[in-house]
């Protein structure tokens, strides 16, 4: 089984061909080609063409390809969805300003249509709603559970603080509640949950501190705006040696129990139930990735 994780999702402006072609060399788990905030209105069409063709022809290696499209209430929404699905090699669409389940449903409908039109495997393209308004935070569980296509939700700190009428600080106290709420919704819906960006690319210590915080809150990954931010984040998400050993013990014990037809197993004196086993598999997968890096 291929283990996929989203510790880091690297934003790349959609109108920057030099950066687009480099997307898969920095070791990010996923790339986030952006058509929204980093692309000026008069560049939207060119960026959309560029991204679609880049995905179509460039054969990126070992990286999840996602695109942040323009929000539902913009004139670019439909064409964004159509053109990038037509590219044929898309993994997920990030939907900015997802305020309700209705928004997700609208995108889902379009994806259904274009998957069929371009003969893409039905249901293969995922949706990553971006929670970045107060109403979105409040309705985050409804959003997260609104479609089978959703396998991650994300939080957007800049827009959210703007919507709340406060400034975004480095400490991030103002979005602590929102972060916690979004994590809880994601856990309840059983999907990944990705944190917002850390804006100061020169502050590695600050980045590490924030990543520790969001990891402890339950986030499974973080969006990044500079390749330099990838390594420190992966280091924070890396399991400890003891965790890895424990994970392999759990997996071994489970396989042994399966062979012997036993139902209940224990490792290090503690009972192992399915959620614990799942966690162990995740840690083992992470350890494998770290070794590759």
């Amino acid at each position: 089984m291929k283990f996929r994780t989203r510790r880091t999702m690297l934003y790349i402006p959609g109108n920057n061909p030099g950066m687009l072609q480099l997307a898969d060399i920095f070791g990010a788990d996923a790339v986030l080609f952006d058509l929204e905030d980093s692309v000026a209105p008069n560049e939207k069409d060119a960026a959309r063409d560029l991204i679609a063709n880049m995905i179509r022809f460039r054969e990126y290696e070992n990286i999840e390809i996602t695109v942040r499209i323009n929000p539902i209430d913009t004139p670019y929404f439909d064409r964004d969805v159509k053109e990038i699905i037509a590219s044929g090699n898309l993994d997920a669409i990030r939907l900015p300003k997802a305020n309700s389940a209705k928004d997700v449903k609208a995108l889902e409908k379009l994806i259904n249509k274009y998957e069929e039109e371009f003969k893409i495997e039905p249901g293969s393209i995922k949706i990553h709603p971006m929670i970045e308004t107060a109403i979105g935070v409040i309705q985050s569980y409804e959003i997260a559970s609104s479609s089978d296509r959703i396998d991650a939700i994300t939080i957007g700190g800049q827009d959210l603080t703007a919507n709340m009428g406060v400034s975004k600080t480095k400490e991030g106290k103002e979005i602590l509640w929102a972060r916690s709420q979004v994590v809880m919704s994601a856990k309840a819906a059983n999907v990944d949950v990705i944190d917002t960006i850390f804006a100061d690319i020169n502050d590695e210590e600050g980045l590490i501190e924030e990543t520790r915080l969001i990891k402890s809150l339950g986030f499974t990954g973080k969006a990044v705006i500079n390749p330099r931010q990838i390594k420190p984040i992966h280091a924070v998400f890396a399991p400890s040696k003891d965790e890895v050993e424990w994970a392999f013990e759990v997996i071994d014990a489970y396989e042994k129990a399966l062979k012997e037809g036993r139902g209940v197993i224990a490792v290090r004196g503690k009972m192992i139930d399915p959620p614990v086993r799942k966690r162990a598999q995740r840690i083992a997968g992470m350890a494998y990735l770290m070794e590759q890096e």
Binding site: G18, Q21, L22, I25, F26, G27, R58, E59, N226, P227, R228, E291, Q292, E293
Partner: protein, 518 residues
């Protein structure tokens, strides 16, 4: 005839003479004893006690030097893009009516584009250099000089001067500081540039040495990089160069993430190569990914508690910082890359100034690079035989420098080339480089952002790298991967005229600069 790398060469070129074909990196070095060469004599000079050496008038001194039409004049390039001296001297020589001179500087920079005019006027007939840039490089690559330019490595130039292949009639030495007798150094004065390593060879073997300075100090001027007994005249000038362009305050590490990806991989390779450990010796380039390799290697050294023997080459303040962290015991400095280095060279007894001869000459009894473990170098182009081009750009114009590239590649136990697999859609990795500066048989590893290739002749390295998660692939497969992205660019068209000869460090000809057809 063809040389070992299949490059077609004439037996003889008018104005240059007999052409020796390249036969392998150490073929001539091994057979040198049989050749029985001797170092040519330098014209004996004498000096009566009390003789006045300091002059204000450059013209007068040039008259005294005995320079004639067709003579060879030399300069150093330690003042880099800030150098005023070379162009000032050319102006005076033109005014004095000199013709057909052989211009033989250690290299040429963007400060020297005006040479084109003096070639057109017939003041300069031939050029020997390490590098060519800007309009001058284009002018030459278009076939505008009758006699091909000769490109030499730093070690190769020292060899050529010492052996008499290049006989310098008058060496003009830009001296950031001098006393009245001509004791020179590069570590004092407004035009301080650090090491005078290239100029040391000129001072030793020229028939006449003219030092030009904007900073005359009380006798004796110490430290003495070039001693008074080699200096015939001292000429005072207002400004030797533009300090802002001689060098920046300090060399900063690249912020380009691709450079960092490459550098990190290269450091990991070096760590696993078998050459990493206490007492290791190390050289790296001055910028981009190659300097960044120094950062990552230093970090690993620190983490593992390893202390190297020496760092060598062009020294930048970044290397000085690594020394200060206690990671190398000494620094050998043939050329200082920024002003931060100057005070270190002046004040630190572990920071040693060396000549180009000492640095890299293959025809002496032991250059420092002969003990070099690891060198990290850049490339404009590299081919599937690992041959490297650092001179001719993708348009076919000479826009770079041979420098110490082929010297250190030949000598070092491990030669690592770091380069992005393509730049602005132009692939770096090609079937055959435009112009070979460094032969592939002296190159061990290519590190790009998309994969690492090891020269198949280095089976020992391939063995060391096994199971280290280093993603090593065959260079031809790496090329295919890159070609798929860039597609094949249209090749530059070249004519038959030879515009330049690439002289290997041992004096044989390894390749040519061919005429660009526009």
């Amino acid at each position: 005839m063809k040389n070992k790398l299949g490059v077609k060469l004439p037996d003889h070129i008018d104005g240059i003479g007999k052409i020796l074909p390249y036969k392998g990196p150490f073929a001539r070095v091994r057979g040198l004893k049989k050749e029985g060469l001797t170092t040519t004599g330098v014209k004996m000079r004498s000096s009566l006690p009390g003789k006045k050496k300091v002059f204000k008038d450059l013209k007068k001194v040039i008259e005294l030097s005995g320079l004639k039409d067709g003579g060879t004049i030399s300069f150093h390039h330690h003042l880099r893009n800030g150098d005023f001296l070379l162009m000032n001297v050319m102006k005076v020589l033109d005014e004095m009516g000199f013709k057909d001179l052989i211009l033989s500087p250690s290299s040429l920079t963007s400060a020297h584009q005006g040479i084109v005019d003096y070639v057109r006027k017939g003041v300069v007939k031939r050029i020997c250099t390490s590098g060519l840039r800007g309009e001058l490089g284009k002018f030459i690559s278009k076939g505008n000089m009758e006699i091909p330019v000769v490109i030499r490595s730093h070690g190769g130039r020292a060899r050529a001067i010492k052996s008499g292949d290049v006989k310098i009639d008058v060496a003009f030495i830009g001296a950031p500081s001098s006393d009245r007798e001509g004791n020179l150094n590069g570590v004092r004065g407004p035009s301080a540039c650090g090491s005078l390593g290239y100029a040391m060879v000129d001072a030793e073997y020229a028939d006449c040495v003219i030092a030009v300075t904007d900073h005359l100090v009380d006798y004796p001027n110490t430290p003495i990089s070039i001693p008074q007994y080699q200096v015939d005249y001292i000429v005072l000038t207002d400004k030797l160069g533009n300090p802002d362009k001689i060098g920046s305050g300090s060399t900063r590490l690249t912020t380009n993430p691709v450079d960092h990806i490459i550098a990190e991989k290269a450091a990991k390779l070096i760590f696993n190569s078998g050459y990493f450990g206490n007492g290791m010796t190390f050289q790296t380039g001055a910028g981009g990914a190659s300097l960044a390799v120094a950062k990552y290697v230093a970090d690993i050294m620190e983490a593992k508690g390893v202390v190297g023997s020496y760092a060598i080459g062009g020294i930048s303040s970044y290397i000085v910082d690594i020394y200060k962290r206690g990671l190398f015991k000494k620094m050998f400095d043939v050329q200082s890359f920024d002003k931060g280095v100057v005070s270190s060279l002046l004040n630190n007894e572990d920071h040693l100034e060396i000549s180009a001869d000492f640095y890299a000459n293959p025809f002496n009894s032991g250059a420092i690079i002969n003990n070099l473990d690891v060198v990290v170098l850049a490339a404009y182009e590299i081919d599937t035989d690992f041959n490297v081009n650092v001179l001719v750009d993708s348009h076919g114009y000479a826009q770079g420098a041979s420098g110490g590239h082929s010297d250190t590649s030949a000598a070092a136990k491990l030669t690592v080339i770091v380069a992005p697999s393509f730049r602005a859609r132009i692939p770096t990795l090609v079937d055959r480089v435009n112009t070979i500066i460094t032969p592939g048989e002296t190159v061990d590893i290519l590190v790009t952002e998309r994969g690492i290739a090891v020269n198949p002749k280095r089976k020992d390295l391939l063995e060391n790298f096994k199971g280290k998660g280093l993603n090593i692939i065959d260079i031809c497969d790496l090329k295919k991967k890159v070609d798929k992205i860039t597609l094949k660019p249209r090749m530059v068209e070249f004519g038959d005229k030879i515009c330049g000869l690439i002289e290997y460090r041992d004096g044989t000809i390894i390749d040519t600069i061919d005429q660009v057809i526009e």
